[in-house]
Structure formats: structure tokens, C-alpha cells
């Protein structure tokens, strides 16, 4: 294993970027998991292919967003780790 230690500044910068990504993902998660569904009653007025939109978001829309979010988070965090040279070999 490589024991090279990051300098204090590098470690802080890496963690700052990681935290920013975390808060961004958390924000989208909150919107998809809770925010949209606060308006479920209103969204249900819109009907697409038989699906009332409010119902669709809770049954499927938000789930699709969660899957994409996890994939995106994985690749974005890898980029951050590579940028700071802390990714695994």
C-alpha cells in the first residue's frame, strides 16, 4: 500500500470538493425523495399516457432519478479522487 500522505492543504481541498459533491447529491435526493411529492396533489392534474404525474413521480420518476444519481456520484467522486491523486492504483 502507498503511504504517501497528502499535505494539509491538499487534503482539505480534496475533502472540500468531496463535501460539495455530497451536498449536491443530497440536495437532489431531497428534491426527488420529498420535494416533488409535496406537490403530488397538484401534479396529479397533469396526465401523461394515463399516468397522473404526481403518482408517476412517486412510483417511478424518483426511482429513476435515484439510480442515475448513484451512478453519477460514483463517477464524479472517482474524478475528484483522480484529480488529487488519491484514487487507488
Amino acid at each position: 500500500m502507498d503511504n504517501r500522505k497528502l499535505t494539509e492543504g491538499q487534503a482539505q481541498a480534496h475533502w472540500k470538493k468531496t463535501s460539495t459533491l455530497m451536498w449536491t447529491v443530497l440536495f437532489v435526493w431531497f428534491i426527488a425523495g420529498f420535494g416533488v411529492h409535496f406537490f403530488a396533489v397538484q401534479l396529479n392534474q397533469i396526465v401523461i399516457f394515463g399516468f397522473p404525474l404526481g403518482f408517476y413521480m412517486a412510483a417511478q420518476g424518483s426511482l429513476i432519478i435515484f439510480v442515475i444519481l448513484c451512478c453519477w456520484n460514483s463517477s464524479a467522486q472517482n474524478k475528484i479522487d483522480e484529480e488529487f491523486g488519491v484514487a487507488e492504483d
Binding site: N3, A40, N44, L63
Partner: protein, 609 residues
């Protein structure tokens, strides 16, 4: 040893081939049984074939994966690729509650039931960003290991073990219950015996090979359960609307349901959000929806049998990818469940309600003969089945002249779709795979915590490898028998017990895990008091409301009791940490080192096996 490791490396290199052949063989087996059915094989035998053959396959995988190495037993040698760990997590995650009861719950509750769908998927986002990669970097064996290291000492470790035990044991009792129901129905033996028959099925997978065996059986179980879940509903979608994608076509079913609801004067609409029994918007339902979603999501990110799966990947990057795979594989089932519910509801409204009771569809007749799951009662004696109300009582939908239990929605779908009996056998095999795989993961989580954290770390740190593995296996059998005994008393409904487990884990473990990684200032005393306070509040609310009829706080049902425990845990941890001495520089260095994927874990003495 050399043989074993060469054997396992060639196994790992050929994973794709092995599981593709396995899937092919399983499909071939199903087709063969379908042919045998056509030439007159009795239904009972088809049921036996599915139940016994699948359990035999799991046992065989378990036997092949036997091991005497600590790291193989506890974390599958940290060699499970992201994709396969994703599938194993999917099976670990989706239990009898997801497979059998969830679509039925949506059938009964309509929009309000979607809280389960949201809560049981969204939690993986939290796992991915807050916990999994850091726990993998930490790289020990169990979740209490992390607590014991980060919060230096046995007190935090033992608190972790207590929460883990309470949450996982509640959960496993629910699974043993589910296994008992399926086994007794398809083998035709009494429930109490069926639980123990199922228990043997669980133990053969996990006893010899620990995590390694459980991982590779879970992958096999995922494949069976997802095929079994999708086949009937895809078939029905094709039959009804000509498109084999139920997730697209059930919109049409929803519109037809809406029209029929108006015609039949059903006030509680399927797609209407946050409605009470009278079909009116209700603030109580509104609040409970959010409470449930939050508790299930946070619970997902706190349940040790899920978190420990991410200890098994080769590195941090794969742990992160593996969370994405996990949610994808889980998503395949969850975003299909609302389609199941809609098709079943349409079938009932269209072909059952208003029909002559003497000429009901065949599936209604066959299910009304199975003890109490579907009952028909011609109240006004006019020979026609009519809707007089829409009331949900526990797991049963009461429409007046017909009462439907939620558990038959998935199980009866093959007959609703007019499929041969072989598909019913397939669905039973899928339900069994779901229940067995989750029970295995839970059992391993509990037994590992007891054998590793309590026995090895606290009672006998000098124990030899052989002795540790013997203790682990003995505890495994002990916990399994205890769970089966408790399940035999039929304590409560499956979904309710499962939701309690989520709340208990969320209130007790989420705050110390997340704060331990994300806030260096979290102190040992703060975390311990936070855990005790959060878990205590949650447990108090649960017991007081369930057993002592305490009035609900703000109308929040006790399946969401973590709503009160969770903020208390965070608040206490935060406040106490602020007034106690900050963690040592070594501890802060430890936290720094688990935040980056590369390099060694520093700052604290850790024992690697």
C-alpha cells in the same frame, strides 16, 4: 490452501460464464417443467420441484464455498466485483416483504403505499454518499468494528452490537415468518414445521462458508427472484396491451381504474395522494407519508446486513460502483411493483366486481379456497358481487362482498394472467429466494457481531482462528433457532415488523456512523450518549404505543418511530461532543485517512487478518 485459492481465482475469473450458464439452466428447467405439466405432471409435484431443487442449488453453492479462513468467512475475501456485489445486495435487501407483500400493499393503499417504494430505494443514495466508501476504506469486518475503533473502546462497540441485534433480530423474525408461509403453502405441511424446514434451507447456505457462501448464493437467488417477479407481469402486459413493458402500459390500466372507480362509486381513488378512508385529503396521512419515507431511507443506510456487504468489494472505488449496481438491481423490482398493483386492481374491478358469483374468474375461485386470503360473501343474496365499501383493515381490503388479503396479489398474478401452473411454482421459488437470501444476510450480521465483536474483541482476543470460526458457526445456529421459535408465535405482520427494524437501526446507528466520518469533532462520549438517547426514544415510543396503548405523538404511527429517535440522536451527539474534549490528533488523523481511497488507515492500531 493453495488449491482453494487457485480454485477461487479461476472461479472469480469465470463469474460471468458461470452465472449465465446458471440462468440458462434455470430457464431450461422451467421450460422442462412447463412441458411436463402439459403431459400431465400434477401441480403438487411442480411445487415440490421448484422448492426442493432451488434449495438444493443454494445448498450446493454453500457447500462449494465452505471456508476455514477468517477473511473469507467474514468478508468473502474482499474479492466480490461491484456488479455481483450489487446483485447480492439486491437479494440481501429484497425480502418476503418486498417480493410478496409490497405490490399487495400498493393494491390496497394506492398512492399512500408508494412511501414504501420511495423509502426502500432512496436510502441507497445515502449509503453511496455518506457511508459505503468510507466503511470500505476502514476495512474491518463488522459495523460495530467501526464504532469500536472510531469511538475508542468497548462501550461504543457494545452499544452498536445491541442496536444491531435488536434491529436485525426483529427483521429476521419477519423473514422466518415469510419462509414459513411459503413453505407451508407449497409443501402442504403445518406452519410450525415449515418454519424449521425453511431454517434448514437458510443454514445450509451460510454455515459452512459464511459471507463467501452467502454472497454467491445471494447472486443465484437474485437471478431467480427477478425472473420470477417479472415474468407474470410482463406476460399480462403483453396480453392486455400488446407491449411487454408493464412499467409503460400500466398508465392505461390506471386510467381504466379511474373510470371504474367513478362508475362503482369508490371514493378512495387509487392515484389520490394522502387520502384517508373517506377519500379526503388528510394531514395525518400527509405527515405519516413523509415520516415513513424518511425512516425507511435512513434505516436503509443503517442496517448492518446491508452495510457489511460493502466490506466485501476489492476496493473503495468498487464499493461506490457497487452501491449504484445495488440500487439498479433493486429498482428493477420496485418500479415494477406499482404495475402489479394496477393490473390486479383493474382485474378485480373489471372482471370480479359486478360478476355473477357462480361465474367468477378461475383465479378467484381457486384462491377463495385457500384459508381466508380471499373471501366472498353475498351479503344481499342477489347472486352478484357488489362493492359496498372500501376499507383497509391491516393486510386486508374489505370491499363489502369481497375481502382480499394483500399477500395474494403477487402470488395469484400467474393465474390472473392465465398462465400455466409452472409459473405459480416459479413465483413461489422467487418468494422463497427473496426470504432466504435476506434471512441469510441478517443471520450472518447478527452471528458475526456476536462472534467477532463480543467474543473475539471482548471475551477472548487470543482465540485461535479455528476456535473463532467454531464460535461463529455455533452462534449462527443458535440465533437461527431462536428466530424460528419467536416466529412460530406469529408476533405481528411481516411489513410492520420489517418497518420497526428500519426505525430501530436508523435511530441507533445512523448518527454515530455518519457523524463519525463527516464531523471530526464527534467525541466518544457524545456518540455513545447520542446512540443511547436516540435508540432509547425510538424503542420507548415503539413499545409504549404498541403494548401500552400510549396515544400517538402528532398522529405518527409507530412504524416511523425513528422520526423521534433520529433527531434526538443527532442533537445529543452534537451537544455532548461540543462540551467534551475533542478527539486526539491520532483519531483525527484516522478520520482523515478513511476519507481518501488511497493509502493505509492511519492513527489507530488495527488488526488485519
Amino acid at each position: 490452501m493453495a488449491n482453494a485459492s487457485t480454485g477461487s481465482s479461476s472461479f472469480l475469473a469465470n463469474l460471468g460464464k458461470i452465472y449465465v450458464s446458471y440462468t440458462g439452466a434455470f430457464i431450461g428447467f422451467t421450460i422442462l417443467l412447463a412441458i411436463l405439466e402439459q403431459v400431465g405432471m400434477p401441480n403438487k409435484w411442480i411445487g415440490y420441484c421448484f422448492v426442493f431443487l432451488t434449495i438444493f442449488v443454494y445448498a450446493y453453492i454453500g457447500f462449494l464455498s465452505r471456508t476455514m479462513e477468517i477473511s473469507e468467512y467474514y468478508v468473502a475475501g474482499r474479492s466480490v466485483p461491484a456488479l455481483y456485489n450489487g446483485m447480492a445486495t439486491g437479494a440481501d435487501w429484497m425480502s418476503a416483504a418486498s417480493f410478496i407483500s409490497m405490490a399487495g400493499g400498493l393494491f390496497l393503499a394506492g398512492y399512500n403505499g408508494l412511501g414504501y417504494v420511495l423509502g426502500w430505494t432512496g436510502g441507497y443514495v445515502l449509503v453511496a454518499i455518506l457511508l459505503a466508501p468510507y466503511l470500505r476504506k476502514f476495512g474491518q469486518f463488522t459495523v460495530p468494528d467501526f464504532l469500536g475503533t472510531r469511538y475508542e473502546g468497548s462501550v461504543a462497540r457494545i452499544c452498536g452490537v445491541v442496536v444491531l441485534f435488536c434491529a436485525s433480530f426483529t427483521y429476521i423474525v419477519a423473514q422466518a415468518f415469510g419462509i414459513g408461509i411459503i413453505t407451508s403453502r407449497f409443501l402442504g405441511i403445518p406452519f410450525e414445521f415449515a418454519i424449521f424446514a425453511g431454517l434448514v434451507g437458510i443454514l445450509v447456505c451460510s454455515m459452512l462458508g459464511g459471507m463467501r457462501a452467502v454472497t454467491w448464493t445471494q447472486v443465484a437467488q437474485y437471478i431467480i427472484l427477478i425472473i420470477a417477479y417479472l415474468v407474470p407481469v410482463v406476460w399480462l402486459s403483453t396480453k392486455k396491451y400488446g407491449i411487454p413493458i408493464p412499467e409503460l402500459t400500466y398508465g392505461m390500466a390506471l386510467s381504466e381504474i379511474g373510470a371504474l372507480e367513478d362508475k362503482l362509486n369508490i371514493v378512495r381513488k387509487h392515484v389520490a395522494p394522502f387520502v384517508d378512508a373517506a377519500g379526503q385529503f388528510s394531514w395525518t396521512e400527509f405527515n405519516n407519508f413523509w415520516a415513513l419515507v424518511l425512516c425507511l431511507m435512513v434505516g436503509t443506510a443503517s442496517l448492518p446486513h446491508i452495510l457489511m456487504r460493502y466490506f466485501t468489494t476489492p476496493n473503495v472505488r468498487e464499493a461506490r460502483q457497487s452501491v449504484a449496481w445495488s440500487i439498479f438491481f433493486i429498482f428493477l423490482l420496485y418500479f415494477t411493483a406499482p404495475a402489479y398493483a394496477a393490473f390486479a386492481k383493474l382485474e378485480v374491478y373489471q372482471n370480479v366486481i359486478g360478476a355473477q358469483i357462480s361465474t367468477l374468474p378461475a383465479w378467484v375461485q381457486s384462491w377463495s379456497q385457500v384459508g381466508g386470503l380471499l373471501t366472498i360473501n353475498d351479503l344481499n343474496g342477489n347472486g352478484i358481487l357488489e362493492v359496498t365499501k372500501y376499507a383497509i383493515a391491516g393486510a386486508v381490503l374489505d370491499l363489502g362482498e369481497i375481502r382480499i388479503n394483500q399477500d395474494i396479489i403477487v402470488l395469484s398474478m400467474p393465474e390472473v394472467a392465465g398462465l400455466p401452473y409452472v409459473i405459480s411454482g416459479l413465483v413461489a421459488a422467487g418468494g422463497l429466494a427473496a426470504a432466504l437470501s435476506t434471512a441469510d444476510g441478517l443471520l450472518l450480521a447478527i452471528a458475526n457481531a456476536l462472534s467477532h465483536d463480543v467474543y473475539y474483541k471482548m471475551i477472548d482476543p487470543q482465540a485461535s482462528t479455528k476456535r473463532r470460526l467454531i464460535v461463529a458457526r455455533t452462534l449462527l445456529v443458535g440465533v437461527a433457532i431462536l428466530a424460528a421459535l419467536v416466529a412460530g408465535t406469529r408476533p405481528s405482520g411481516i411489513i410492520q415488523m420489517v418497518a420497526w427494524a428500519f426505525s430501530l437501526a436508523a435511530a441507533g446507528l445512523f448518527a454515530p456512523l455518519v457523524m463519525g466520518i463527516w464531523w471530526k469533532r464527534t467525541t466518544t462520549v457524545g456518540a455513545i450518549l447520542g446512540m443511547i438517547a436516540g435508540f432509547g426514544v425510538c424503542l420507548y415510543y415503539l413499545i409504549a404505543t404498541h403494548y401500552f396503548a400510549m396515544p400517538l405523538w402528532f398522529g405518527i404511527r409507530n412504524i416511523s418511530s425513528a422520526l423521534f429517535g433520529l433527531p434526538v440522536a443527532f442533537l445529543v451527539t452534537w451537544l455532548v461532543s461540543l462540551v467534551t474534549t475533542p478527539p486526539s490528533p491520532e483519531m483525527q488523523d484516522f478520520v482523515d485517512s478513511i476519507r481518501v481511497p488511497r493509502g493505509a488507515v492511519r492513527g489507530v492500531a488495527t488488526s488485519h487478518d
